[in-house]
Symmetry: D2
Subunit: 327 residues, 4 copies
């Protein structure tokens, strides 16, 4: 095993709360171990463009509580080409970077895996995405914060909901994953939750709402993941409105505010542990893997395994509980 | 002047944060003055349906910090008829109510004025609406809280905005009033603000964004009031997207969450002062007026004057400042 | 196994955010299973005084987001006597309660265990305390919320800290458990953390702060659990002040605000799952156990085991990480 | 009037939320008017030490929502000497600064007045302090944010208060000013409020609490400003405990967290308007004055007048209202 003297760290793909806390942890752990750290801006694009900066302990002070990522992020098409990766590696080499910590989602993992295989450079990944849709960790970075953001929005809607005959539709993030919709739906006390993973016919939704009305609920909140298969929140709302003409239908589309915000305590500590573990694993000789949390323990999973598996984190039991709670 | 022994209090129209704090203040002030209080549910509809409840000091404890209104609210068509009002007055009479405090917007004020004129019952109004569009007060109840809700959303979007070439559109409440859009746009540091009171052609917006891009802004936030005259946020976004094809356009529609939430310190104290003043004015013989704040002082304005005037609260200077700040 | 027709639910000991969400879940799960539910006010004291109320689905609507406990809580000396428990059981019997769900800490668990043994009544416990000091669950109810409350306070202090040569001491809850201090210290980026489980001599703290000063930190935050063995926050502050006379020492004592607040997404979903599991386990014939979470799964642990064991949740690694991060 | 080409801006004294928003506004307004801006670090100390930085529009982006001050603050003894001020002025001169905007409290105002008189340099002040104790503005910068911080703390305490016989003491900032205590006491629904401006004998407080107990309040919250004349919160608590031995007394000392936090919408817009006005007034030839808000309008007040007057912002009526509300 080649000695590691300088570690490169970057964020890639969609940003998530906690990424800054992870960067800080990578930097401080490496410095503590007498290693140097280079921050790479704009993810893989920044490797190709050699956007590098030397990271000091000061550079990461007062960022643990910041949303977004100080290293910026970007999607990068060039990196998908052999030429792009060659250029990236040449830059890394010239900068003296011996190992990488990549923070992001499955696109980030894929890039890291290819690079580490083609050029034999040690890489550890940290799962950072609000969608909680990566294999190898009970929770991804940013998921907890996003859930808190969504339930605060639902709480506010609930305040105003109580007085009128109204159905509120709240669209939340999740193109392929209903994790936020389910977690925030249960946490927000929603009457119905529509997920990409589970088809709910509009007829079924209407029946559910009719039953809720019979049970004397004067207002109802429906959480709908953006990846729901019923043609989008406005289409669902339109169909429900036709049957519920005595109800006022209101729509909120939370959008990108779910990606921002100061990370929760959970995400900050998770990010800190993940950054620490990623560096320690690199220094122990581990590579081509992602860190994760199982229970209260840090684990690592080979990238190949992480990328080829899917865990159904939509706890089936929670689906059942959601139904029971709206009873 | 007839002696007042029992005061009726109700909320009407769209709800707003601080209404509960105002109810609490009306109740406690009246009890302190050895008067009795009846809570009327569902606004004018509850008068017609005789939905009354006796209000004790305990009934209003721990509500100062709650969004919504414990007395519920409703819109009421029947009250616009002479028969409806006759029925309402008969119920009020039977309940022993000698005077009313009405909390709501201009619809509420109109109803209160007609009733007080037709039946000679003393009425004081409290301006409760997040839109800040009523004459007779520098601030309406709920406006400050709504502004805080919107800037928190903008802050979160800003977190995630920094890394990508993106234009974010955030639709905020305000069908006829751009107060929230302007205040939250300035407070959130938006690059552009579209208001119902001021036509901004889409071409003008695009020019503004192009200038911002030239000044090297990698992300931009546009606040758009729901009453903007350009055909809705999606239409504006579509037109901007056509010119900004190298940018990613994202839309958030905050919707009714702006109506909810625990009231801010400002709104709680304003509500408390308004409730106190409304009751004291009734007991001093005042009627047919709304309370309000001017500077740090409580004032009253005759309903006729309040309903027939409009103050342009869109501080012209603030429009100029918004432009300067996005420079 | 005797059939269960009516379940009694109560909260006892210090309250914690999420207790209301747990009550709601117990009630709705039981009703869904066609059982009846009695709410018992003021914990064991309310059993002795027969303070009972029938719980409908409506009684628990809109409480999922409320701090505190709608069933109140109390400490109860009488229940420690045989006579007290006899009276409690007689009341339970008369009310037709066949099984109990107890929400609280180890005092609550002990009471539940004794009662279930003396009178053969099925009991399931839910660990509700912000201290996270119970065996049988990775997390107790309220712990996550308390951590978020504390880091928000630290974030605010950090804002004002940056400009002056200052040491800030923040006392957090935890008489016997340093969980909050450690988690919030890491999440808040504290320079030093003092815990009840681990003696840190004041001399050691001063050395730590001197090193931080050498590394050019112009402000430092020290988190100190109330159970720290150095004579209290003011005593520690005084000793540090003597050595750091060029620094301004400031003290915050967060106190009971750590117990309140709207529960986090994590605590709401945990509470909902725990309430659901407690009722389902009772109906399956389980008794004398506590529910808990391990990883993402619900588990149960016999009360005897839960009361006689201690898990050192102060992840040793996290102690090490705290040190590395303040480097 | 000499032409102004470069404006210096600094923050001084205790920091307050909104200072960054004011700095941003000063910078952007000046740049918009084709002027240059120098940021002066650490207030008057930085003038003496020539800690200057050129301010671009980018330098102030994304700071509108940050607590603290990016220009840091400090107290400065040297500036009280003629030599100190001579050195400061020489540095200012060399930097090419033609005018100053000073953000801070009365110490800041005094320094600005002396400098502008001794050296004939135009100065405008912005009142930045959470204490709201300056003449010339209905509200000082940071006051609204601090009030929101305090009521959020009180709300959390209220959550946990409901179940036990408890008296909670919450110490808030205000050595000479009871503004925060009164505003947050009314907004938080406190049972009693102790202010520096108004002596409340402990005997009187105890009587008040006894009356509250008679009215069946099971928990009570007392807000006490740090400047209260009864020997500090612990002393008051001790005396109350002696009489209320059946109550559990709990103390929270909020401390410096009241100074931090992201500024509220109100403070951000106020800061933006004040910064804009300060620059515009300088450019119009105004000097030796402070900006302020009266009602919804910006005003200016000569420093001499501002420093020699006091407005009793403790709205007398609000004191009465506080009493009525706790009834």
């Amino acid at each position: 095993m080649k000695e590691i003297n300088r570690i490169g760290v970057f964020t890639s793909g969609g940003d998530a709360p906690g990424m800054n806390a992870a960067i800080r942890s990578v930097v401080r752990t490496a410095l503590y171990e007498n290693k140097k750290v280079t921050g790479i801006y704009h993810g893989y694009q920044g490797m190709i463009d050699a956007e590098f900066t030397d990271m000091t302990s000061h550079a990461v002070s007062s960022i643990i509580n910041r949303g977004g990522t100080i290293l910026k992020s970007a999607r990068c098409l060039d990196f998908k080409t052999k030429e792009g990766r060659a250029k990236a590696y040449a830059n890394i080499k010239r900068e003296g970077i011996d190992a990488l910590v990549a923070i992001g989602g499955d696109g980030t993992f894929t890039g890291a895996q290819i690079l580490s295989q083609e050029y034999d450079i040690p890489v550890m990944c940290i799962p950072g995405t609000i969608d909680n849709d990566l294999y190898g960790s009970d929770y991804t970075l940013g998921y907890d914060t996003a859930n808190n953001t969504v339930i605060e929005a639902i709480d506010k809607i609930r305040d105003t909901a109580a007085s009128h005959n109204r159905v509120f539709f709240v669209e939340v993030m999740g193109r392929d994953s209903g994790c936020i919709a389910l977690q925030a739906g249960v946490g927000g006390g929603a009457e119905a939750i529509l997920l990409p993973e589970k088809e709910t016919a509009i007829a079924e939704l209407i029946e559910l709402l009719e039953q809720a009305e019979v049970r004397n609920k004067s207002s109802m909140i429906v959480i709908i993941a953006e990846g729901d298969k019923n043609g989008g929140v406005y289409n669902v709302a339109k169909h429900v409105q036709e049957k519920f003409d005595h109800f006022d239908i209101k729509v909120s589309i939370l959008g990108h505010l779910q990606r921002g915000g100061s990370p929760s305590s959970f995400d900050r500590v998770l990010a800190t542990r993940m950054g620490y573990t990623a560096v320690r694993e690199l220094l122990k000789g581990n590579s081509g893997a992602t860190v994760g949390i199982r229970g209260i323990d840090m684990i690592t999973t080979p990238l190949e395994q992480a990328l080829n598996n899917r865990e159904f984190k939509l706890n089936e039991e929670l689906l059942e509980i959601a139904k029971v709670m709206s009873f």
